[in-house]
Amino acid sequence: MRLKIQSFIIIVLFFVTLMSCKKETVEFTDSPVIEAYIEPGNYLRVNITRQIPFSSSVQYSADDINNLQITVAYNNLTHVLTPLGNGQYIDSLSAIAAGTHYDLSFTFNKKQVAAYTYIPTKPLSVTQTTTTIAITKQDSTTPKFTGTPPDPITFTWANPDASYYLIYVENIETGTLIPIRSFKNFTPPANRFRKQPVTLNTQDIRSNEFQYYGRHRIILYHVLPDYATLYDQTNTSSQNLTNPSTSITNGYGIFTGLNADTLYVLVKQP
């Protein structure tokens, strides 16, 4: 009996020892990162990069990121993209047009990578309540502002299908920018800002959102939901390691169509 137990223990210990010898390997899947914003009027350009692994001991696939056979299908035609080097590819055969569907496809790391998108319509019936806004300067040299701030600028557009729209604002003055408020010790803010994507047909820009005086370009983007989710605060929180939900399979990044209209606003002193 004792012999039985002993031999049992020995057998088990043998297995245990055998198992202990197995080395832990870091697992990393080399999947490509695609970046492509497809806008009417331009040629279709795609940028392919690799992820940056957290471990130095990972193995990249043998595929050359600069020499991939990438095809794009639209209007029942399939084109092979021309590599420009540095992961950049272009389809210079025809310009992008609204309403067109694009299917991207290539092989990377023995897997078929695919993505699709379409070009939404250009924003229609776009209006703005004013093209000029007067904002009082506030800093240590001026008395404390006590008056009522100017009315916000309201932008409207047609949105019958409740699709996503995104407003992007950029100061286009050259030279030194004149700030509206004092930044004290803080780093001066950038000359541009954006609003959250909305599915509404209207959005306001309040006077305190502007940081500098001068001419501003307002771009109203008609975007697709996959791009809109990139801006979602909770969802992209690194707490959950959420990756943006896109049309890409076997890869990461963004492959999305968009269409825009441009407007202007002047911010001046009263």
Binding site: V33, F54, T234, Q239, L241, P244
Partner: protein, 1010 residues
């Protein structure tokens, strides 16, 4: 086999039929002596005898007996008249019995002694050690005594020479005093009333006497059987406390026929062959006891009392007395039984723990210090049904799972069904843990207290009259060293390694952390037995954990010097259980027993892990923002159920019952005070019934248990049928083959919320039929066991198929537009399979077991992977060894556990996307689901207990009143990884191992009245 036995019985019947007719005929009564006749005239053993009690008390129990046989051919009365022993003051409390000296040779002289002594000592419970025999016949020699086995009956047999016989002086000598000295401890029943109750320690004797034999119940009846093939019903109890012993084994010796007592200790043996059969009664932690039935034994309500395993018997006596801490059931498939009485022998981390001890058995994973919940055969803890006195306990963890919520001082019996469980139980996919709490001492008040480096534990057992008993146990942790150690483990990252593109860390500003955490639990049980048929008991359980690791800080200047900023971090988790059950059991008839349980169970968990920022600006305006994780889970379960068992045929027991549960489960999850991610409230009732039949076939060699359970679930408006069956075949006396299969449904599930960065958490949800479907499983089990008196070898293989599993993950967006977090539930399926081996030495000073499990648990969720991936709880190899060694008053034990590391998912890389506004956004990629494995887990624990005894050192038998225990957890200070956390800082990642406990010594002092 059976035939042979009956033939033997008939032979005995013929042989001693004549002895039976004991006419207790009083023929004459003189001053104090009484004369009686044994048997009727014509019988070979017909004779007159004389009884004499110097104190004139003729009650036969609790006294020493001296049997006296006179000179050759002397009658009993003559011997009585001549005898001088009766006049000795030392024998004042003895009973003297004079028998005639008939016959020409020793064989004839002594042929009736055995049966005669049996009659005289019927109902006598003072043991062999107090029976003496004085023979005044000088023709008898020492070898005659041995040949006639008189030493089997009497402790001392004295042969007096004629010379001494007449010399009364010699009789008063020390010789006779010593030879016929009363032995008070010879039998428990004869001790002072108080000494009946408790666990005793018998000092090992230096001399080589055979005293311990007396502790076994002796055969007292030698007559023929009067009843054949009858039904015997009764109850099995602890002799010391009167506590009923559930699920004890009662077997008829020599044949396979046997029965298990039910949850209230009642048993029914159908077709007992004769009323002189011998019963073997076993219960873990108690002496295996043989009961010699006699025609006088009650056929109904027969009380069988078992003694707790006495300590330190000599090796020779240990054979047959099971010392095992756990018992693997021979006939039932995949069942393990444990009695908390024996738990103190195992190494522990501050508390004796039932759930922890089950983890040392094969098929139950041991590599998770942070979960008292059981991972049984690749199942998760929520797939294990935990029943405490009939109500379901939904959360069994104390202090991050390092301890179970069950106070072993309040528990009587725990059974674990690892799979293929019967139709009686339902609502879970994997396994069942059935816990029965103590009824409390029914004979004497008892109380006790334990103090360890972790907690204080007190209990009291108070009987009122003989119909009411109660037990209350309370336990509370205090901030001792162990508590601190565990708390620190959970709340501080002890081992940091940074990888990849470097990493930061160590930039914490000073914070004030005020820790106020504790756990406590309270168990109460009140039992009322109005008569021998009914038992009404109320059981209450409340366990609470509060874990607070909050901190606050206010940096002096931040930005402007005129505005103030304060920051407080809350990390408060409060969770617990409140449960109660009211149970009424009734033995309607010998063949019909039932109980009804009304119960309420509530599990709640409040988790607030958030940061509150308060900013007071120059204008004195205060803005407060709160963000983090706010989680609340509240589960209520109102149930009623009735279970009945009906011994319908001699070979078959029908069990059936009905149940109804009303669930009310709430869960909310918020990431800050304004955005609630998930808010669910589900209420529904579940009703149903089951029927199963335990049938024994082919002379009890085959036990077959088919059954079906049917339920109706309100939410889905569907009926669920669960057919199940198990079979065990005793191929030989030692070899048993077993098999089981069955379908199982689960309506309330603990859903895992995947969190790669800070560790996954889980919460209870009720199936809604859509985002959380009703999960189901099918079990297939086959195994065999080989059992000898000292060893048990068993092997069991299992395959479990799981469907409609649910996980919650925020890692994916189900669709690009709009975020509905209710859609982040993902469904999948899976399987687990494996094989378990156990080799156990059940008895002896050195006992224990070795077990090995080879297992595989795989899940398939489309969202994670195209194929099967290892489930979170997957452990490939698990090896455990448990050794227990007894030496005098010391109990030593050691355990060693080895397990393959668990799988985990980790961030594997990062990438950036440039947005339209020119900014870039960083994203992180993760490895394939559970594509990595933690390093293997192994750990050794040791412990030693020293028994504390009451009484003088020289006393032969001393009451055990507690023990001092010292144990070392994780003896060689192995660093076992619990899980990993990741912090992403400016594009690099900081990986931190959260480890389990390192070497942790513990000291326990346990004291009790009895």
């Amino acid at each position: 086999m059976e035939l042979k036995w009956i033939k033997k019985l008939l032979k005995i019947k013929k042989c001693i039929l004549s002895i039976l007719c004991f006419n207790l005929l009083v023929t004459s009564i003189s001053a104090q002596e009484r004369q009686y006749s044994f048997n009727s005239p014509g019988n070979v053993c017909y004779f007159s005898y004389v009884c004499y009690s110097p104190n004139n008390n003729y009650s036969p129990t609790k006294r020493a007996f001296i049997f006296v046989m006179g000179k050759p051919n002397e009658t009993a009365f003559e011997t009585f008249e001549k005898d001088t022993l009766k006049n000795l003051p030392q024998f004042y409390n003895y009973q003297l019995v004079y028998i005639p000296n008939n016959g020409i040779n020793p064989i004839e002289k002594f042929k009736c002694v055995n049966s005669f002594v049996t009659l005289i000592t019927y109902n006598y419970s003072y043991g062999h050690n107090n029976l003496f025999f004085q023979i005044n016949d000088h023709t008898v020699t020492e070898s005659d005594i041995k040949e006639n086995h008189l030493y089997d009956i009497f402790k001392t047999v004295r042969i007096n020479s004629a010379k001494i016989d007449t010399a009364s002086k010699a009789l008063t000598s020390m010789g006779v005093m010593d030879d016929f000295k009363e032995t008070e401890f010879a039998d428990d029943a004869a001790l002072r009333e108080d000494d009946k109750y408790g666990t005793f320690y018998t000092e090992e004797e230096k001399t080589n006497d055979s005293i311990p034999v007396a502790l076994k119940i002796q055969k007292t009846y030698f007559g023929p059987a009067l009843n054949f093939n009858y039904t015997l019903t009764g109850i099995v109890k602890d002799k010391a406390t009167g506590e009923a012993l559930p699920f004890s084994t009662i077997q008829i010796k020599g044949i396979k026929n046997g029965s298990l007592s039910n949850a209230d200790g009642y048993f029914t043996l159908l077709k007992v062959p004769t009323d002189t059969s011998v019963l073997t009664v076993q219960y873990v932690g108690y002496e295996k006891t043989e009961i010699f039935l006699t025609p006088q034994t009650p056929k109904k309500n027969f009380l069988i009392e078992l003694n707790p395993s006495a300590q330190s018997f000599k090796a020779v006596n240990v054979v047959g007395i099971r010392e095992d801490v756990v018992l693997v059931n021979k006939t039932d498939v995949s069942t393990i039984k444990m009695t908390p009485k024996k738990l103190e022998q195992l190494p522990n981390l501050g508390e004796r723990d039932v759930m922890r001890s089950f983890q040392l058995m094969p098929g139950v994973s041991a590599s998770n210090e942070s979960s008292s919940g059981l991972y049984v055969r690749g199942g998760t803890p929520d797939q294990n049904l935990v029943l405490y006195d009939g109500f379901t306990v939904y959360q069994v963890d104390h202090l991050y799972g390092f301890f179970s919520a069950f106070n072993s001082n309040a528990l009587k019996d725990v059974q674990l069904y690892k799979g293929g469980f019967e139709s009686k139980f339902g609502g879970r996919l994997s396994s069942v843990t059935e816990i029965t709490s103590k009824d409390g001492n029914q004979k004497k008040i008892n109380a006790g207290a334990d103090v360890s480096l972790l907690s204080m534990n007190v209990f009291a057992e108070i009987p009122i009259g003989n119909k009411f008993s109660s037990v209350v146990a309370f336990r509370r942790s205090y901030k001792g060293p162990i508590y601190d150690e565990i708390f620190k483990t959970f709340n501080k990252n002890s081992n940091s390694t940074s990888s990849g593109q470097g990493g930061g860390g160590g930039r914490r500003s000073s914070q004030n952390t005020t820790v106020s955490s504790y756990f406590y639990d309270l168990n109460g049980k009140f039992t009322y037995r109005p008569n021998s048929r009914d038992i009404i008991s109320l059981s209450i359980f409340n366990g609470t954990d509060k874990l607070d690791n909050s901190s606050s800080s206010s940096p002096t200047s931040f930005g402007s010097s005129t505005s103030t900023f304060s920051f407080s971090s809350t990390d408060l988790t409060k969770y617990g259980n409140v449960g109660s059950s009211l149970k009424w059991s009734r033995k309607w008839s010998d063949k019909f027993y039932g109980n009804t349980i009304l119960s309420y169970s509530n599990y709640y968990s409040d988790r607030d892990r958030s940061q509150q920022r308060t900013l007071t600006n120059t204008l004195g305006e205060t803005t407060t923002t709160k963000s983090g994780v706010l989680e609340n889970n509240n589960l209520k379960d109102y149930s009623i159920k009735s279970d009945y068992q009906w011994d319908i045929f001699k070979f078959s027991q029908l069990q059936f019952g009905g149940f109804g549960t009303y669930y009310d489960i709430k869960y909310t999850y918020a990431q800050n005070d304004t955005s609630t991610i998930l808010d669910r409230t589900n209420k529904a009732y579940l009703v149903g019934g089951y029927i199963q039949s335990k049938t024994k076939l082919f002379g009890d060699k085959v036990q077959f248990l088919p059954g079906i359970r049917a339920s109706y679930f309100e939410t889905t408006k569907q009926y669920y049928y669960e057919p199940r069956a198990s079979v065990s075949i005793s191929v030989t006396k030692r070899l048993t083959l077993k098999g089981a299969t069955g379908k199982y449904y689960q309506f309330a599930n603990r859903v895992t919320r995947e969190d790669i960065l800070t560790g996954s958490k889980d919460f209870w949800l009720l199936s809604d039929g859509a985002s959380v479907p009703v999960s189901s499983s099918i079990h297939y089990i086959a195994g065999l066991s080989y059992e000898t008196n000292n060893y048990l070898f068993s092997a069991e293989g299992y395959y479990k198929q799981l469907s409609d599993l649910t996980e919650y993950s925020l890692r994916f967006n189900p669709r690009p537009s709009g975020i509905t977090y209710n859609e982040n539930f993902y469904h999948g399926y899976g399987f687990s399979k494996g094989i378990e081996f156990l080799a156990q030495k059940k008895s002896g000073n050195l006992n224990g077991w070795v077990s090995y499990t080879l297992g595989q648990a795989r899940n398939h969720f489309d969202v994670y992977s195209d194929g099967y991936y290892p489930a979170n709880q997957d452990v490939t190899h698990e090896f455990k060894i448990v050794l227990l060694y007894k030496y005098k008053r010391f109990d030593f034990s050691a355990t060693w556990i080895y397990a393959t590391g668990r799988p985990y998912t980790a961030p594997s890389g990062a990438y950036s996307i440039a947005l339209l506004d020119g900014s870039t956004k960083d994203y992180f990629t993760v490895t394939t689901k559970n594509g990595l494995r933690l390093p293997e887990y192994h750990r050794c624990d040791i412990s030693v207990n020293y028994k504390l005894l009451r009484g003088e050192k020289g006393d032969k038998k001393r009451r055990e009143i507690g023990y001092i225990g010292f144990s070392i957890f994780n003896l060689y200070n192995r660093t076992n990884v619990w899980y990993k956390t990741y912090t992403i800082q400016s594009g690099s990642i900081l990986e931190t191992n959260v480890n389990y406990l390192g070497i942790t010594p513990n000291l326990t002092l346990s004291l009790k009245l009895r």
